[in-house]
Amino acid sequence: MSIMEHNGAAMIAMAGADCVAIAADTRFGLRQQTVAVDFEKVFRMTDKTYVGFGGLATDVQTLRAALRFRLSTYELKEERVMKPKAFANLLSHVLYEKRFGPYFVEPIVAGLDDDGKPFLCGMDLIGAPVFCGDYVVSGTCTPNLNGMCEALWRPDMTPDELFEAISQCLLASVDRDALSGWGAIVHVITKDGVTSKRLKGRMD
């Protein structure tokens, strides 16, 4: 079985009007066995940039630490906060450095740039980025996620509408995937701050 499907994950990032949301399931499993239901896969990089990693859990954790290192040294040296686009480029670079022995993750980046405009980016495991204006998905049920997002996404949603849409997309998608689900978390980022909520879904 594919190494990208060993642990299981489902995540979405979506753009609204001057806001973005990023959501992921919280299952940590070893093949069919669910081991934890509170496993974080979405991480804050800066107040305005969040990243989610689906794929092999050990690489999720290692990359998170590696990126935190890069960001901290950047902020100390440059005395400024990294912009979402620069972060996406950095992540792409970090992944490609391991081109012939990659991190088994497929990240999604969600942020707000200095003008408050949404920034979304999806990437493959060797850093090839795709920049989208609507939504990006990653995980073991991407056909489900893509289908749900295509159906429920519309432009210029308010933070509340965005929360509703991304949550419904995620919950419906993971229910038809054995390897993802068992809890979910949603972060909605606006210029005024971030609200994080846990979703009540099927625990199976």
């Binding site: 912009k83 686009k85 670079h93």
Partner: protein, 236 residues
Amino acid sequence: TGDSSYSYSLTTFSRSGKLLQIEYALTAVSEGKTALGIKAKNGVVLCTDKKLGSRLVDSAGVKKLEKLTENCGLVYAGVGPDYRVLVAKARKQAQQYALTYGEQKPVKGLVQDLAAVMQEYTQSGGVRPFGVSLLVAGYDDEGPHLYQVDPSGAYYGWKASAIGKNYKNARSFLEKRYSDDVELDDAIHTALLTMREGFEGEMNQHNIELAIIGDNDMLFKTLSPQELKDYLDEAN
């Protein structure tokens, strides 16, 4: 740094706490042709004396003002070949940054890179300090910048500065004339006047080099002799 097989630094402290190699490097700098920079509220200007040794020299091949990135350039006073090494290193580091982050390195970062290299050569085995002071001018998200970097690796942010042969007179001239709200065109004018103060012989569009970076396009560009002539005519 350096492919030398020396494991010890040639720059060592004297009893009085001085690093004489750096002092001597600064002497070399003050023997070099004058260069100056002025930061305006909407841009920066760099200027230097390009006087050629004889009329047989082909001035087209002589270039002292160099671009580091699209929005940052520099000039030097001192040992030209040392300058070229620094320019090459800084350009490479700037491109490395752009490759990693997908955006231009901030001017201050470029200056810190240059300064770090220059400091390295005061504390590494078998090498000597660079015999140049640099004036770095740039425009980024934080606005216009003018920095000076010395052979020791010390760097200073300036509103206006001069380095090289006539630097003391040039600096006092600038001190009298500078104001915080000066516009780029006035800064060019002031730069030319300052340059002329200590100039040996007649100053014209062929024996000086001038570059500007303005907030209209944030691009570092060297003025052509024709453009220079227009400014010089105004200054007369």
